[in-house]
């Protein structure tokens, strides 16, 4: 739920409560005022009547609301009082709430009882009126708050949304500082300054790490070349067979080190996006790669089935296409059985390579992790599929691996 919606709901809930309590207050005070007013009017009527009886006021016009009758003189005088009762309303043909005011007066040896009547609004009517008006207020509030919240979220929360978007698009690998908008809101200013500091630190660390691994890889190249050269020279000198074997083993280890190093350098370069894309014919590249590996396929007596659509064009660097294809194809050959099979399918949507081979023993999602291998002792560096994955990521391809028992399928989505 959006922040602004939460605010609005809380606000409206509190408003509803306040309005509810308010309606009780309004009701009682309206009722009270009404009764007071009516009481004063009745008092006026009674006093007028008394004045008429005393002869100090002339009757202007008769009113049915006032009634004067004589009662027993011996009764004590009744002071002014108002009674709240129900009376028959002839116009409405029903009982209505009625206020009755009474006072008796002893005058000229007669005892008069003066009674004045007034119909008062019933509580239900007041309640209904109160509720109607408060409901109208509530609806008005609802509409206004709704509109305001939209405006508020657009305007006040704008810097927040901008910051969110900036974080969403932030990528360490692009090596650009986070651009955050200026804002006058204290909280957003704090958030932005925190984000800026954090990302700057992350960028800095990332850069240091990158530089280190780049330099380390490059610095390794020359010593490796020296070791390899010296071992080779040593191999050509007058040595025994046993010595030759020792040298050879050392030299194989150096080769492996050199290859791993080169793969790491390639991965670094992929991260640095040093390979601009250009349109290439993937069908031709695939055919070429298959041709390069043809002998290896034959040597392992693999049956090859290919279904390659003509002129499938993709945008990527030609070297990366070669590396991608060679990695995938040589994997399919390498991890295959003698007399196994390879199926290669290429169309505009995807490239699929399916091969037979031992079931894999590690979780499939770890296949693309650097240095993860099905058999840790195997000769490869375990970087081939991470390179494949990185190439796919750079070119916006998807890559998926499916396996069922002794059948393995790699799909590269080209869309």
């Amino acid at each position: 739920m959006k922040l602004v919606n939460r605010f609005t709901i809380w606000y409206l809930a509190i408003t509803a409560l306040v309005l509810l309590a308010g309606s009780v207050i309004v009701f009682t005070s309206v009722q009270h005022e009404n009764d007071d007013e009516e009481g004063r009017r009745l008092l006026g009527l009674v006093q007028d009547e008394i004045a008429i009886l005393k002869g100090t006021l002339k009757r202007k016009n008769a009113t049915s609301q006032v009634n004067v009758k004589e009662i027993d003189y011996n009764k004590s005088e009744v002071p002014f009082s108002i009674v709240d009762t129900l009376g028959w309303h002839s116009e409405f043909q029903g009982t209505e709430r009625e206020l009755i005011a009474r006072q008796s007066l002893k005058l000229n040896n007669k005892h008069y009882l003066i009674t004045a009547y007034a119909f008062a609004p019933e509580p239900e009517e007041t309640v209904a009126g109160t509720i109607r008006s408060l409901a109208a207020i509530f609806i008005l509030l609802l509409v206004l708050v709704g509109i305001t919240s939209i405006i508020v979220s657009r305007k006040i929360l704008r810097p927040f949304h901008l910051s969110l978007n900036a974080i969403k698009t932030f990528n360490l690998k692009q090596r650009e500082n986070l651009q955050l908008p200026d804002t006058r809101t204290e909280e957003f200013r704090m958030l932005n300054s925190f984000l800026s500091r954090m990302t700057a630190k992350a960028l800095d660390d990332y850069r240091t790490l990158k530089e280190f691994s780049e330099n380390a890889s490059h610095e390794l190249q020359t010593p490796l070349a020296i070791i390899r050269g010296k071992l080779e020279l040593l191999l050509q000198s007058e040595i025994s067979d046993d010595q030759a074997k020792l040298i050879s083993t050392a030299s194989e280890a150096v080769d492996k080190l050199a290859r791993t190093n080169q793969a790491l350098i390639l991965l670094t370069k992929l991260d640095n996006q040093e390979y601009p894309s250009q349109p290439i014919n993937l069908s031709e590249a695939t055919e070429k790669s298959i041709a390069l590996l043809q002998e290896l396929i034959e040597m392992k007596s693999l049956s090859l089935e290919k279904n390659i659509q003509q002129d499938v064009m993709v945008a990527m660097h030609p070297s990366l296409a070669d590396i991608l294809l060679m990695n995938l194809l040589s994997n399919a050959i390498r991890h295959n059985f003698e007399n196994g099979s390879i199926k290669i399918r290429l169309n505009k949507r995807q490239l699929t390579i399916e091969n037979t081979g031992e079931p894999i023993r590690i979780p499939t999602d770890q296949l693309f992790v650097r240095f993860k291998k099905n058999a840790q002792s195997s000769d490869s560096a375990g970087l081939g599929l991470s390179i494949v994955k990185r190439i796919c990521e750079i070119n916006g391809f998807s890559i998926n691996y499916y396996s069922s028992h002794e059948l393995h399928r790699l799909e590269v989505g080209l869309d």
């Binding site: 490059h218 190249q221 020359t222 490796l224 070349a225 020296i226 070791i227 390899r228 050269g229 010296k230 080779e232 020279l233 191999l235 050509q236 067979d241 030759a244 074997k245 040298i247 050879s248 030299s251 194989e252 150096v254 080769d255 050199a258 290859r259 080169q262 793969a263 350098i265 390639l266 370069k269 040093e274 390979y275 390069l292 002998e295 290896l296 040597m299 070297s319 060679m326 990695n327 040589s330 994997n331 050959i333 390498r334 000769d379 490869s380 560096a381 081939g384």
Partner: protein, 227 residues
């Protein structure tokens, strides 16, 4: 043949010198950009082995100088920088080939020979040894003047052996020579074994001598002095 080795790392330069020296190459060194320029001004070389990353000036710069001065040597770039840009730059500026460090010395030698053959295309397209003749232009191999049916890889392999005669060639160096950068993903030793076996069979079937010997656990060697 005279070769100028432009490489700032003395150890590496000496290794190259050591390997090529045995093949009747005359090698000289230029450890810096300036030294290399001086040597080039004073002497003529058939080939220049050029490290692109020199301490006092870029090797690419040196390459431009060589081309400007119309020096006719073949140029083989060696570089630790596997950057594609350098490769393309170097080849566009007139280098003949490009080799990435670390390389096998036998591979360096093979490349040097190959570019040399390409340059002198008016004569030496044939590589001869006793009864074996290879035509590097038409990819024809003959033993006792009878054509051998060799695959492209077997032809390359035989040429590699003939270039590095009497040298122990390790299985890795052969694998890398035949399959280049993609060797990592191959069970290369089996494949090398297969190729060498086939090649030997084809030569002996054509009544050639079995020059290629196995150095157990290491690799192979083309022996010129069979008893």
């Amino acid at each position: 043949m005279k070769v100028l080795i432009v490489e700032d790392n003395r150890q590496l330069a000496e290794s190259i010198h050591g390997y090529l020296g045995r093949e009747s190459y005359v090698c000289e060194h230029g450890y810096t950009y300036e030294e290399a320029l001086d040597k080039l001004a004073a002497f003529n070389y058939d080939s220049i082995i050029l490290d692109i990353m020199l301490p006092d000036g870029n090797g690419i710069e040196l390459l431009k100088q060589i081309k400007e001065k119309k020096i006719q040597s073949t140029i083989l770039i060696i570089s630790a920088k596997n950057a594609l840009d350098d490769k393309i730059n170097g080849l566009e500026l007139g280098a003949d080939d490009y080799l990435t460090k670390p390389f096998h010395l036998s591979e360096l030698h093979a490349r040097l020979k190959a570019i040399q053959r390409r340059k002198n295309f008016d004569n030496d397209q044939l590589v001869n040894f006793n009864e074996i003749t290879l035509n590097t232009q038409t990819f024809e191999a003959k033993v006792n003047n009878v054509a051998l049916e060799l695959t492209k890889k077997e032809f390359d392999l035989l040429l590699y052996f003939l270039t590095n005669k009497n040298r122990i060639l390790s299985r890795q160096s052969i694998a890398e020579h035949l399959w280049g950068d993609y060797v990592d993903n191959l069970d290369n030793f089996d494949f090398v074994y297969q190729h060498v076996k086939n090649l030997r069979k084809k030569i002996t079937q054509a009544h050639g001598k079995d020059y290629i010997g196995t150095v157990y656990g290491v690799g192979y060697k083309f022996n010129t002095n069979l008893s």
